[in-house]
Amino acid sequence: MIKNTMIPIAPTKAKKIRQPWRNVAFSYYMVEVNEALIRKVAALSMLELEESGVADYVKSIGEILKHVEQLSSVDTTGIEPMLHGIDGPLRLREDMVEDFGRDEHGTPKVVASAPEVEHDGFKVPRIIG
């Protein structure tokens, strides 16, 4: 999941911070959240923002990122990240085709809720197809 959503954003405002009391170089980014950053991440997230809301995102996201910087004070040396809610492997099974049937108009139910349907399939604008 992480790999697929990696987005390169140059850490332009990054600083290396030395914490001498730990005797190790420990880095975290004092990010400056500005309009350019918000617009850039929003565009990469395929989000259109209302112009009137951009300043609010800059302020609120700036405050949140400032708050979470407290995590840099936690010593996590040698700690495995906890990426899942369960211990051990996922419960896997063979892929199976399941027929969801057709609705009262004869359309396959799995596509019936699509914005547009044609020939039992998803109809998409030419820019996608």
Binding site: M1, I2, N4, T5, M6, I7, P8, I9, A10, P11, A14, S27, Y29, V31, L37, V41, A42, L44, S45, M46, L47, E48, L49, G53, D56, Y57, S60, I61, E63, I64, L65, H67, V68, Q70, L71, V74, T76, I79, E80, P81, M82, L83, H84, G85, I86, L90, R91, L92, R93, F100, K109, A112, S113, A114, P115, E116, F122, P125, I127, I128
Partner: protein
Amino acid sequence: MRTIREIHDAFDSGRETPLSLTERYLGKIAKSPHNAWITLCGERALRQAEEQNLKLKSKHGGRVPREAEPLFGIPLGIKDNLVIENIRTTCASRILDSYLPPYTATAVLRLETAGAIPLGKLNLDEFAMGSSNENSAYGPVLHPTHPDRVPGGSSGGSGAAVAADLCFAALGTDTGGSIRLPASFCGVVGMKPTYGRISRYGQIAFASSLDQIGPMTRSVEDAAVLAQVMSGVDSMDSTSSDQPVEDWGAIVRALGDSPSAKGLRVGVPAEYFIDGIDPEVRSAIEARIETLHAQGAAIVPVSLPHTRFAVSTYYLIAVSEASSNLSRFDGVRFGLRPADAMRSGGLREFYQKVRANFGPEVKRRIILGNFALSSGYCEDYFQKAAKVRRLMRMDFENAFRSVDVMVSPVAPTTAFRLGEKSKNPLQMYLTDIFTIPASLAGLPAMSVPVGTDSGGLPIGMQLIAPRFGESSLFRAARIVEANT
């Protein structure tokens, strides 16, 4: 009638029938001012109720089949991020306004198989992102008794509907407190199971390593019955667990009306009784701890040292997972495809026009999540949070060596005013400070009403148990409930 048992007794005696009960609830919903419902499925519910009326007479000789259908004729509300075949599911978002799912969530299917009757879909914060139910595209839900207050979120419709008696019980979902907080604010019982207990097949995902479905009810016994019906392995959810499910309903019933707390070891985490808690909330919880002690429980001070990092940890992880999960809303296979998107000159513009229809809080979290996962920042934000999450889980494992359950307030305050925190997302996030840690650690937890403050607003006590420790959780919750 407060419990399923009482309803079933009324069915047995003929004082009430599934149909009369369903009709009465639908009538109350039509007159209710709370905005708790987004979509009703009244005709479907009446059809189910009629079938049950017939079945009760012809097949069961007028006696409720309690063993085979423990929820026979019980009208329920379903949070609108859980799908029911062919009934509109919106997630309180414009982007899913007209979505008709082709299947039913496993949890709902199991409740229906046990005889329950869904009345409709309940309002929530958009995609379950919020603590006050003010982030709904269908308008905020009003508090059941104080209309100037929020019901809590994100399962605000569920909390308000159960408290205002617009359904007998409801399903909520809990990612960082979304069942427990509205249960506390509205004065009902809310239960979040161990991660993996209840299949999430058919729950529209917010943060997959945290999301859980759970019941919201008027009694601990009913919460136990609903949780028991929904629990157990499901081949449609690869995270569901095959841990044995005990008869939690029977465990609670066996405790009777004046259960003893003898032998119960109750942990009181120091970090949950900090400055900033409303004094009335603190004294209500402390009084209940005293009562537990008087009933024979051993009260044990415990420490969860990483608690103060919970909100930061949670919000980095939850938004990261959300930004990934919500990438599926692209206007191609389901959901909204607005006219301006159709006029787009290219793919990027098409997606942006579609996704412009997310509400502001959802957009904020997608931006934050994609930022936290982005190259150059992932190590310092997402990965760091995932490591602190492990430390928080270790805190609980250490503390649970000496106690059976832990108790705390559900939230630092009672229900706050509409609009009070909606302009300050960080303040809103801090509302979840006591509910988030159990979510991060995947533990079962509950909110049980323990009285009201001087303004009449409900106060909830949180109980937390070890993983798959639902039996201890329900037992302790019943003891608290019986002594309130």
